[in-house]
C-alpha cells in the first residue's frame, strides 16, 4: 500500500474530502473528523483535503476564507497552538535541476550549470506544468500554515491558492499573534502581501533588497559563480585509441592461452 | 621604619612630599595586589579555572602587563563629549580614592595624617567619587554611559547613608572620630572582663559590620549591586567611552577604593593594626602593625570578592528599596541600641 498515492493529483475535484478518505485504504477517523468539522463550519470554503492516516491532514481553503479559517481553527475548534505560516512556490526551478551538482541517475555527466539557466529563466511566462502537493492547487503560489491542538494532539496544515496577479491574503496576525513575524518573513521571501498586518516591514532582509529570495526564479548565486568541481577531470592516456585496442586484443589472447 | 624616622625628623613640607609619594606608590600597588589576588586568582579558583599564567611567575604580573597595555592604547574622546568634564572625571574619581588613604593607620605612628575627624573625613571624600561618576556618565554623550552614571549616582547616594550610619555605632562605642583612637579603643577594650585580646568591634557591632559590608559592596558597584556597570544592560555604564589610561584611572580607582574600604572595615571592626599581645605603644607595633592590617584587609577583601563572585545582581529599584527600607532602619536601630548601651553601661 502506498499512502502517498493520491498525493500528486493535480486535477481538481470539488467534493474532494470525502473521496480522498475513501481512496486511502486506512481510514483515520480522528483526522477525518477534523476535516468534517472544518467542512461544516467553513462550507464551500474548503476546497480540497488530504489525509495521511495516522500522520497528518491537509486542508485547502479559498483565499477569501483564509482569515475565517484561522478564526474557526483557533476559537471554535481548539487549534490554539500556532505552528508556522509559510508559502510554497510550485514553479519548477528555471535553473534546471539546480542540483546539476549531483551525478545524474542515468550516469550522464552533469552539464555546466551556466547554460541551463538563461533559456528557462523566464519560464514563468510560458506554460509550465505546475505540480502541486497534497490537497491540490491551481496556482503557482500557495500559502501554507499549520496549527495544532495541544489538548487532543492533532495538527492541521492549511493551504490556500493565491492568484499570480494578486499575491495577497488576509492576515492571520489578529487571530494567531505569532503569525505576525511569519507573515513578514513570507512577504519578503515570496512577495506575498498580507492585508491588515499591523507592522509590515522587513524582518530579515535589508530594506533596499530587491527580489524575493525563496521564489524559485531567484538564483542562488553561490551555485552560479563557481563551476561545479565534481565534473570529471581525468585526462585520457595520450595514445588512447591504439592502446585500448591493443589492450583488448592482448586480454583476449591471454585468456585463450 | 624609614618613614617613621623621616616623619619625626623632617620639616613639614618634606614630610608632606614623602607622604604624597608614598601614597602615590601605595595606591597603585594596593590596587595591583588586589586586582591580581582577587580579581584574577580567587575568582578563577572559585570558577575552577587557573587564572592568568603567562605574565610573570604564575601570572602574577598580569595586571602590570594589562596596565602597560592600557597605556599604549589610543586615547579616544568622543566627538560630542564635553571634553573638559570628560577628562576631569577619572581624575576626580581617583582623587577621592587617594584622599581616603590619608587617614588609614598602619601602625601607631604610620599614618599620613591622623585627623581628629578621621572617619568622617574618609566618608566625606569617598562620596566625592559620585561626582566623578556622574561627570563621566554625563560628559560621554552616550546613552549607556548616562544611564549607568545616573544609576551609579542614585546607588552611591543611597548607600552612603547606611555606610555612615553603620560607622556611627563604632564611633559611639569608641568615643572618637579619629582612626587611631578607634584602633586604640579596640586594643584597650576587654571582652567579658578578659582584656588580653582587646575588643574588636566586630563582636559588639556585628550588625553594623554587616550593614557596612553590604554598603561597601554597593559603594564599589560590585555584584550584587553592579547595576550601574551591568554589561548586559548598559554595556559597562559610565566608563563605556573611556579608553587607555583614562580607563586605567577608573580601574585603579575601583580596586584602590576596594582596598581602602577594606582597610576602613578592618580598622573599624577588626582592630586595625593591633595585634593581641603586642603593646600598642611599642615600636614593635609599627613593624607588625602593617602586616596585621594587611592580613585583616585581605580577610575583609576576600569577603567582598566572595560575595562578588557568588551573587547575581539586584535590580536598581530593588537595591534602592533594600537600602532605604532595610539597611537604613537597621542601622538606626543599631545606633539606638549602641547609644543606649553605652549610656547604660
Amino acid at each position: 500500500m502506498n499512502p502517498l498515492s493520491s498525493a500528486d493529483t493535480t486535477d481538481e475535484t470539488a467534493e474532494a474530502p470525502a473521496d480522498e478518505a475513501v481512496e486511502t485504504v486506512e481510514v483515520d477517523e480522528r483526522r477525518q473528523a477534523v476535516v468534517d468539522q472544518f467542512t461544516e463550519l467553513l462550507g464551500d470554503a474548503v476546497v480540497q483535503s488530504h489525509i495521511r492516516p495516522g500522520d497528518d491532514v491537509w486542508i485547502r481553503v479559498t483565499r477569501d476564507a483564509w482569515a475565517t479559517t484561522a478564526d474557526v481553527a483557533r476559537n471554535r475548534l481548539g487549534f490554539t497552538f500556532f505552528d508556522f505560516l509559510s508559502a510554497m512556490d510550485w514553479l519548477p526551478s528555471p535553473f534546471g535541476r539546480d542540483m546539476d551538482a549531483q551525478e545524474d541517475t542515468s550516469g550522464a555527466v552533469a552539464v555546466d550549470d551556466a547554460d541551463a539557466s538563461p533559456g528557462e529563466a523566464d519560464a514563468d511566462a510560458g506554460p509550465v506544468a505546475l505540480e502541486t502537493g497534497y490537497a491540490g492547487g491551481d496556482t503557482r503560489f500557495q500559502l501554507l500554515a499549520r496549527v495544532y491542538d495541544v489538548r487532543n494532539h492533532i495538527g492541521v496544515t492549511f493551504r490556500a491558492d493565491l492568484p499570480d496577479d494578486d499575491l495577497a491574503a488576509p492576515t492571520w496576525s489578529t487571530t494567531y499573534l505569532g503569525a505576525d513575524w511569519h507573515e513578514r518573513e513570507v512577504r519578503e521571501m515570496f512577495g506575498i502581501n498580507f492585508i491588515g498586518h499591523p507592522h509590515m516591514v522587513n524582518l530579515y532582509l535589508p530594506g533596499e533588497f530587491e527580489g524575493y529570495p525563496l521564489r524559485k526564479d531567484f538564483p542562488l548565486l553561490a551555485r552560479r559563480v563557481k563551476p561545479w568541481p565534481g565534473i570529471v577531470d581525468v585526462e585520457q592516456m595520450p595514445t588512447d585509441g591504439d592502446e585500448d585496442a591493443g589492450d583488448l586484443r592482448c586480454r583476449r589472447r591471454c585468456r585463450r592461452q | 621604619m624609614n618613614e617613621l624616622v623621616l616623619a619625626i625628623e623632617l620639616a613639614f613640607w618634606q614630610q608632606t612630599l614623602i607622604k604624597v609619594l608614598v601614597a602615590a606608590v601605595l595606591v597603585p600597588t594596593t590596587a595591583l595586589i588586589f586586582g591580581i589576588v582577587f580579581l584574577f586568582k580567587v575568582m578563577s579558583w572559585m570558577q575552577s579555572r587557573m587564572g592568568p599564567q603567562e605574565a610573570g611567575p604564575r601570572g602574577l604580573l598580569q595586571l602590570l602587563a594589562d596596565g602597560a597595555k592600557f597605556l599604549q592604547k589610543e586615547d579616544i574622546i568622543p566627538d560630542k563629549a564635553d571634553r573638559f568634564v570628560f577628562k576631569a572625571a577619572p581624575v576626580v574619581v581617583l582623587a577621592s580614592t587617594f584622599l581616603i588613604y590619608v587617614i588609614l593607620p598602619a601602625g601607631p605612628d604610620l599614618i599620613i595624617s591622623d585627623l581628629p575627624t578621621g572617619i568622617f573625613f574618609a566618608m566625606a571624600v569617598s562620596s566625592l567619587s559620585v561626582i566623578g561618576v556622574l561627570m563621566a556618565g554625563w560628559s560621554s554623550s552616550n546613552k549607556y554611559a548616562l544611564m549607568g552614571g545616573l544609576r551609579a549616582g542614585g546607588q552611591l547616594i543611597a548607600y552612603e547613608l547606611p555606610l555612615i550610619l553603620a560607622v556611627v555605632g563604632v564611633v559611639i562605642q569608641a568615643g572618637s572620630l579619629s582612626m587611631q583612637d578607634i584602633v586604640l579603643a579596640q586594643a584597650n577594650g576587654s571582652m567579658l572582663g578578659f582584656s588580653g585580646v582587646g575588643l574588636p568591634f566586630l563582636i559588639t557591632q556585628i550588625l553594623g559590620f554587616g550593614i557596612f559590608m553590604v554598603a561597601i559592596q554597593a559603594e564599589l558597584t560590585q555584584p550584587p549591586f553592579d547595576m550601574p556597570v551591568a554589561e548586559s544592560e548598559v554595556v559597562g555604564g559610565f566608563h563605556v567611552e573611556y579608553t587607555g589610561f583614562r580607563f586605567l584611572f577608573f580601574f585603579l580607582a575601583e580596586f584602590a577604593t576596594a582596598f581602602a574600604f577594606a582597610a576602613i572595615a578592618a580598622t573599624l571592626f577588626l582592630g586595625g593594626w593591633y595585634v593581641p599581645g603586642i603593646d600598642p605603644d611599642s615600636m614593635l607595633a609599627n613593624v607588625v602593625g602593617p602586616i596585621a592590617l594587611f592580613v585583616k584587609i585581605m580577610v575583609v577583601a576576600f569577603l567582598i570578592f566572595w560575595f562578588r563572585f557568588t551573587y547575581p545582581r539586584f535590580r536598581e529599584d530593588q537595591l534602592q528599596r533594600f537600602a532605604w527600607k532595610y539597611l537604613i532602619p537597621l542601622a538606626l536601630v543599631n545606633i539606638t541600641i549602641t547609644g543606649a548601651l553605652v549610656v547604660a553601661l
Binding site: A101, Q102, E103, K226, W228, P229, G230, I231, V232, D233, V234, E235, Q236, M237, D247, C250, R251, C254 | V42, S44, W45, M46, Q47, S48, R49, M50, Q53, W306, F307, F309, T310, Y311, Y326
Partner: protein, 168 residues
C-alpha cells in the same frame, strides 16, 4: 528581606569550588593551552588525510561535498599488474587533490562516501594560517596528515558494525 539560607548556600558553592580547585587532587577544569593540550577523541574531525594510493579519482567525494571544496584532477596511466605476470592495469593517477579548508564545513561526507578508503579523519586541529589562501591543502599536505590518523576504536558491546583498519 532576603532570607539567609539561599544566599549562604550560594557562598558555600563558590567556596567549595575554590577549595576543590586548590586541592592537589582536584585542580582547575582548564589547562594552559599551548603548554598543555587535551587529547581530542579518536573520532574527532580535525583535518582530512588522504591516502593517495587508494584514490581512484572517482569524484564521489567532490560531488557529495556540500560546499564544493574538493578539487580533483587526474590522468589515466598504466599501473603494474596486481599478480605477477599479469597485464598492466589502466588506472587514474591523481594530479591534484585539494581541499579548501576555508570552505570546508568538516561534515565528513567525503570521508564517508569514499568507496576505496582513501580519506580519513585526523583529530589534528592546529593548522590555522595567517593567510586564508594557505588553507587550501594540496595532496602532498593532505598526505602528510595520514601519519596523524589514529586507529579506529573498537565498538561498544552489542554492535554489529565491522571494525576497520587504517592503511599505512
Amino acid at each position: 528581606m532576603p532570607k539567609v539560607p539561599g544566599m549562604v548556600k550560594g557562598l558555600g558553592v563558590t567556596f567549595r569550588t575554590m577549595v576543590e580547585t586548590l586541592k592537589p587532587s582536584g585542580g582547575p577544569a582548564t589547562v594552559q593551552y599551548p603548554h598543555e593540550k587535551e587529547e581530542p577523541a579518536a573520532r574527532a574531525r580535525g583535518v582530512i588525510a588522504l591516502h593517495e594510493e587508494n584514490c581512484t579519482s572517482c569524484m564521489l567525494c567532490s560531488r557529495e561535498c556540500p560546499d564544493w571544496c574538493i578539487y580533483i584532477e587526474a590522468h589515466k596511466t598504466l599501473a603494474p599488474p596486481r599478480r605477477a605476470g599479469g597485464k598492466p592495469r589502466q588506472v587514474n593517477k591523481l594530479d591534484r587533490f585539494a581541499i579548501d579548508y576555508s570552505l570546508c564545513m568538516y561534515c565528513g561526507i567525503c570521508v564517508e562516501v569514499c568507496p576505496f578508503d582513501a580519506l580519513f579523519w585526523s583529530p589534528e586541529y592546529e593548522f590555522s594560517e595567517v593567510s586564508i589562501a594557505d588553507l587550501l591543502h594540496e595532496k602532498q599536505r593532505l598526505g602528510e596528515w595520514m601519519d596523524t590518523v589514529p586507529e579506529f576504536e573498537p565498538y561498544e558491546a552489542g554492535s554489529e558494525a565491522k571494525g576497520r583498519k587504517v592503511p599505512r
